[in-house]
Amino acid sequence: MRHGKGFIEQTLGGAFAFFRQALYDDETASQPGLLQSLDPRVKAASLLSFLLLALFTRSLALLGVLYLLSLILASLSRVPLGSFLLRTWVFIPLFSLFIAIPALFGIVSPGRVVVSICGLAVTEQGIRAASFFLGRVITSVSLTVLLSMTTRHFELLKALRSFGVPQVFVMVLGISYRYIYLFVGIVEDTYRAIKSRGGSGVHCRNGQRIVTWNMAHLWTRSYRLNEQVYSAMLARGFRGEPVALDVFRARGRDWLWLAGCAATIFVLVYAEVTLGK
């Protein structure tokens, strides 16, 4: 009897978990909270400004302040801190550390030796470079995850319009977002049907055949759906130039928030410049 999950089950399980997470994010984004109450365009612009500051700063302390700010904002927006930290820290050690580790050593970053490990010198400049790299990654990821967890995905897409992205592109993204859930549902149902008929103990080669066949079937369905959706759009007056509902209205609190963010960024930059001298 087989106990372990097969490759197919693991892959599909991962995909379903991702989409469940996306749904969960939409729930978090619908709850009352500081960032949730802001106009998505204002929120995206302000968090993007903090992100740019994190990328261009030359101060580790400022990176620390920005990271702390992301935690405070998460807390004020009632984002579950455990889930937030998990999502921002899980992949960073995996990927960023691999990239940052060589920078610690004198071969890559020559300078004053702090300690020697197995004959390899760890330099002060190396530690600083690796810390900067990790700090920038974690702060950027935190700000991005914060934006994603406090903004409903379709609002985020619509906010792209304010950054000059053409309406047709935003609309295609919106339709893709809508149908990806439908296809995930179809895949989930198909997999459940396979499991109910053949059990989970499908042989690897057989499993590959089933997956390949299902991919082809899904492609055909999506192609057919594409034609039908286009018909549905035509039936409702679409003539090639989409017009979408403008749902965003910037209010007083949005302008106040924007002014607060601009002041914070000014103070941080001023502090870095004056303290850095």
């Binding site: 919106g174 549905a232 007056g237």
Partner: protein, 264 residues
């Protein structure tokens, strides 16, 4: 005064990819304000006819005309006619997942009027009013994939009713609905018809015929119209319904077997 014909189909033929026939010589007229049901088994060509009536597909042979204007690709190349036609004729697809293609219910309902150039404030006001009438106000900011089948059907109807069309084409509107939602939907269609609008419904649900139609066209397996009449006449014509797979022959056999077993 003679009633104007909204649709007129003459010897209509249509085949998918030129080799899979879907309609084989349909002759039919629909008068303004009429309620017509297209009844037939799966694959009898009802949905194809609705697509032709909505100018989404075009006849291989024969013609379909809307208020005297033949529906051809050339006719839809004329912006003024296309816009006028799309405002006047609304189609609710059988599969709500085709009908609802926007990320939220609100945007889906707004899609039609916005394409026709209705201003944002008017659209927002109409959405609020329609959502209240259909009881879908709490669904407006949800994504269509989060809705039940009944909710999707109501929203699908809203996406068309928002443009206040003169003609409503419905493809299997009660498929997959529970009896309560079906009744609610029939009430909505009834209100629409009472406003003098034309309603053409494709269905194989015989239970709702008397509620949704004044006239019925039965589609045969040969993709022609096998019978026409009032709902009462059609429902009374058992041989016609049996011949076109619209009643449960199997059920009667099972019943006969049970009676035979009981009688020993």
């Amino acid at each position: 005064m003679a009633t104007e014909n909204v649709f007129e189909c003459r010897n209509l033929h249509y085949a998918y990819r030129g080799k899979f026939p879907a309609l084989c010589g349909i002759d039919m007229t629909v008068a303004a304000g009429e309620r017509v049901a297209l009844v037939g088994a799966n694959g009898s060509g009802k949905s194809t006819l609705l697509n032709l009536l909505d100018g989404l597909q075009f006849a291989d042979r024969g013609a379909v005309a809307y208020r005297g204007q033949e529906l051809t690709e050339a006719a839809f190349a004329d912006e003024a006619f296309a816009s006028r036609f799309r405002r006047s004729v609304g189609l609710v697809f059988q599969n709500p997942d085709i009908q609802l293609f926007c990320p939220t219910v609100r945007e889906d309902i707004a899609f039609g009027p916005l394409q026709f150039g209705v201003d944002q404030q008017t659209v927002a006001a109409r959405i609020a009013e329609l959502a209240e009438t259909l009881g879908i106000a709490p669904l407006l900011d949800r994504s269509p994939h989060q809705l039940s089948v009944g909710e999707k059907r109501k929203v699908s109807l809203a996406t068309v009713l928002i443009s206040d069309p003169d003609v409503l084409l419905l493809d299997e509107p009660t498929a997959g609905l529970d009896p309560r939602t079906t009744t609610h939907l029939i009430d909505m269609l009834d209100a629409f018809a009472h406003a003098g609008k034309t309603v053409i419904t494709a269905t194989h649900d015989l239970h709702i015929l008397e509620d949704i139609a004044d006239r019925v066209c039965v589609f045969g397996q040969d993709r022609t119209i096998a019978g026409r009449g009032t709902p009462e006449e059609i429902l009374a014509d058992e041989p016609l319904l049996k011949a076109n797979n619209l009643i449960h022959v199997h059920h009667h056999h099972a019943h006969d077997h049970r009676v035979m077993a009981h009688n020993g």
